[in-house]
Symmetry: C2
Subunit: 341 residues, 2 copies
Amino acid sequence: MDKKWYEKNGRDGNVVISTRVRLARNLEEYPFPCRCGSDLRAQIENKVTDAVVNSNSVISSRFSRVDVDNISTEEKVSLVERHLVSPEFISDKREKTLLLLDDESVSIMVNEEDHVRLQVMCEGFDLDRAYELASRIDSLLDEHLKFAFSDTLGYLTQCPTNLGTGMRASVMLHLPALHAAKAMKKMAENLSKLGLTIRGAYGEGSEPSADLYQLSNQITLGISEKTAIENLRNITKQIIAQEMKSREAMIKNIAVQDKIYRSEGILRSARQIDGSEALQLLSNVRFGVTEGLIDSIPLDTINSLIVEIQPATLMRKTGQKLTPAERDKVRAELIRSTINR
Amino acid sequence: MDKKWYEKNGRDGNVVISTRVRLARNLEEYPFPCRCGSDLRAQIENKVTDAVVNSNSVISSRFSRVDVDNISTEEKVSLVERHLVSPEFISDKREKTLLLLDDESVSIMVNEEDHVRLQVMCEGFDLDRAYELASRIDSLLDEHLKFAFSDTLGYLTQCPTNLGTGMRASVMLHLPALHAAKAMKKMAENLSKLGLTIRGAYGEGSEPSADLYQLSNQITLGISEKTAIENLRNITKQIIAQEMKSREAMIKNIAVQDKIYRSEGILRSARQIDGSEALQLLSNVRFGVTEGLIDSIPLDTINSLIVEIQPATLMRKTGQKLTPAERDKVRAELIRSTINR
């Protein structure tokens, strides 16, 4: 089976773990989801699903429909942990559907905040690839669905912050050196002036953990998709350069080296480990790998562990409900068996 | 070259690291060292040295004279770290001499608290061997020296607590399970009633660290050497049994296993480590080795590291003065190169 995006290491993978492009779309003939009753919501689900399934594109056969209302809590939460849906999507009790591409690179949330939230994820720093695939699926939907669009405003969305392009592009950054240098607060302020926002790995409202940050464009109105992406690309390149320069300086410090090697030693040997400690240790080891201190653990292995050690994804893998203490044990086993191979 | 006692693992080595027998003797014709001026102290040094060197025993040629007043501070402190002399001996500014057997199993301090402090160390639990060797050297000295002896009191010593046999026998115990079970305070109280004392690895006034304890007899008056040794032997056997039972129960705990394996992971990977952390981690790993969790690090390797990572012994090995930060680095290197062989 093909590797999923979170199991790979892509371009500029030293700093950029993944790239995401998300498009918000609404069907002209329906009210926004929050104002739809069960009947209308079900109609929307079917319409969007049909548009995907009935298209003549080869890709359409690779989509499957996930009945999010009728899967276990672990399955639901794991979708969030794998960045396939938003936390809001699974916590909403009303009718909704997820259309998911087999390699998990494309997910279409139906009846989230907007009727359609189309998202493309790919490994590494690859805005063009993510945007092109998103556009392709967007066109495919556009053949069968009539999207609410205004010549003056652009795509209409429930929340005005998405009005216009309806596009949010983002990159997931691993910034151990800038984080350690306490440079992130100031950076967030500066980025905000440039129409970008930087926050925790799970987007709005999530705290940064394990030195992972999500950088995304904020402006959707009065700007083209191309310009928005160009802005994000240029700023990301600058951050990559800053981070790499900072790493190069930091890595000479024996205390930093010590922390990295100890993190590797603990991951290779622990018999129980909670998610937050494991993430931080993986972050430290990732830093060590990019700076050539550790050569026995590939970056794609670390990337996939960052996703697989999350509580629900871990339970999904074992196929059983686990207490936190049991999870800590299974997590340690998974890490050991993966990196001690 | 033969391994030194602290580089070996002996009988009941799971719990008993080493056995020591020390005899206090004084020359009849001189005042106790504290009341001797330079001239008399020098005479005593020479007399005792001659007694060792001039004896016809094969062993006498294996002794060398260490001019403790004229060696570097590191050499001096390392003698304490290797348990060859008392801390008081090296801090005393007055004339003194050390006679040391080539394998470091026998050391004779001249002009410590008493004129002669003869000490035998051996690996593991071996009171008979230590006592027999001590007696043999004692007889050898007795041929040339006239020891202060009273038919009613026995050997005369400066401090009345040594009067009689002048013998102190002790075992160095590794008690991670009893320590963790917080059983040591109560045990110390009970032992005290039996005429035994238990304290830190460096004897009187030293705090227990890394789960190492020194158990010794206290009574020297009105008791034979044999009886004193028999008491110590029986009590030690009981403590060994208690400790092993306690380890067997503790080792089932996943948190204990986790701590042991993490300790191993850190020792195998750290780039800097202070003495106190290193000792504690070595103690944890030692526990893991005795319970079969770890089979790649032999006990004698751990025993020798416990001595070799001490600050002065570490500097003695490298042959240079090191700052504490440099020592932490060299210590981590020594541990890694030793256990990752």
